[in-house]
Symmetry: C2
Subunit: 229 residues, 2 copies
DNA sequence: AACTGACTGGGTCAATCGACCCAGTTGCGT
DNA sequence: ACGCAACTGGGTCGATTGACCCAGTCAGTT
């Protein structure tokens, strides 16, 4: 309603568009729905953006570049590599659970970019970014536990991205927390098996998934944290 | 144009709708675009289907139920478990490469089902079906090589589905054949590590991924076979 | 406090959407 | 060959869409 600089207005419209896309998909993100979500009038839209396509292109750009957190590794000096990876994956999964609509919007935007002629490269860049972040996490995990990856981290990063994608997609479809956590345990086991322990660390032994469940018997429960605005 | 039974007409409209969705997404699959693709007139649409939603619901139903091939295991009595899984995954990947639009349409329909109120269960059923097929493949692979899965196959099936989903999604985004095959090698290694060799089979040893690449150094090349029509 | 350019609000436009209608035509069962 | 139900074709409808316009209003500068 009140006056505000263009940059601010553009930014607000972008987050509003993202929220609308999360709820109703890209096709539901009409100019009217977006300005409604942002609490503006329709004319403000074409003042801030050339067109709807223009906004969507910028949104994809911002979203790809702003992608930050993949694995948040706990600072536990006693944990071995597999446990560390499992904890990191669980923390990622908690993020997904806390805001499922965000993940849906991400997939939606990726598919939109893939099928829009001028934006073919965006989806590719997005996955390159994912791998980048995954590689950083893998490097740090190995360093902390004194392990060495047998193959280049970039290769392994692609494996990690594939696993998180698969876990996320399946969970979005069936919302089965238990199964997702079981797959996370498998993923940690599989990734840890790709490393040699470099120093004097005790050998990695196959573990059950029980020790990585933060809240063991809490299936199908909505997360406490609300979606960030 | 000519007369034909309702069932035939419905069927043709369904496949036409699937093709349109593959090309332009669910939102692009308007009633006019669908009948155009099928070579019919607009009135035929509402003669065969109650509404556009009705067609989409039936399409999701058919697509979920008609899902068949996941892993096609080669009949090689000398292959060990990991090699068998790797070959199966490569054959799946070849299918994806042969008809990428089909996979895109599948993801598109899954997302549509997830965000459409009345069709929440369809996405869940789809993934249950995926796991079912994956479990069958895993069971057969273990049986052929005389191995035993340490955990229930249903658990492992979820892992396999996550991996194939992740591999497919990443490849659709960047079309990097080499990376996809490397991830497939990782997947086969990781899955095979979940089995105990039951009989007198030689122990599974870590292998490089070189032996499963059908065309080792062919990056970013479009597949030779064209999408099936 | 006056001025002026940045910004808003409400309205309009052609295009496209799903849905529907109905007079005409086709081809099957008999 | 004939009757009639199954089916087609062309047109229409209200709703929604992206885009645009312009007179009015606000805020920062002087």
């Amino acid at each position: 309603m009140p006056h505000m600089p263009v940059a601010e207005r553009r930014s607000r419209l972008l987050t509003a568009a993202f929220d609308v896309i999360a709820r109703t998909g890209v096709s539901g993100a009409t100019t009217r729905a977006i300005v409604d979500e942002a609490g503006m009038k329709l004319a403000s839209f074409h003042y801030a953006f050339e067109s709807r396509e223009d906004l969507l292109a910028e949104l994809v750009d911002v979203v790809v570049g702003g992608q930050e957190v993949v694995l948040e590794l706990p600072s536990d000096p006693t944990a071995d590599l597999e446990t560390l990876l499992a904890r990191g994956l669980v923390s990622y999964f908690d993020q997904v659970r806390a805001d499922p609509l965000r993940e849906r919007a991400m997939f939606e935007l990726t598919q939109y970019a893939m099928r829009t002629p001028g934006m073919a490269g965006f989806a590719e860049r997005q996955y390159a970014r994912y791998r980048e972040l995954a590689a950083a996490s893998l490097r740090e995990a190995a360093e902390r536990t004194g392990c060495d990856w047998r193959d280049p981290v970039d290769e392994l990063a692609a494996d990690l991205v594939a696993l998180t994608d698969g876990i996320t997609l399946a969970w979005l479809a069936d919302r089965d927390d238990r199964r997702a956590l079981a797959t996370i345990a498998f993923a940690a086991r599989a990734l840890a098996a790709e490393a040699d322990r470099g120093g004097a660390v005790s050998p990695v032994q196959p573990s059950t998934s029980a020790d990585i469940h933060p809240t063991p018997a809490e299936h199908h429960r909505a997360p406490s944290r609300e979606a960030a605005r």
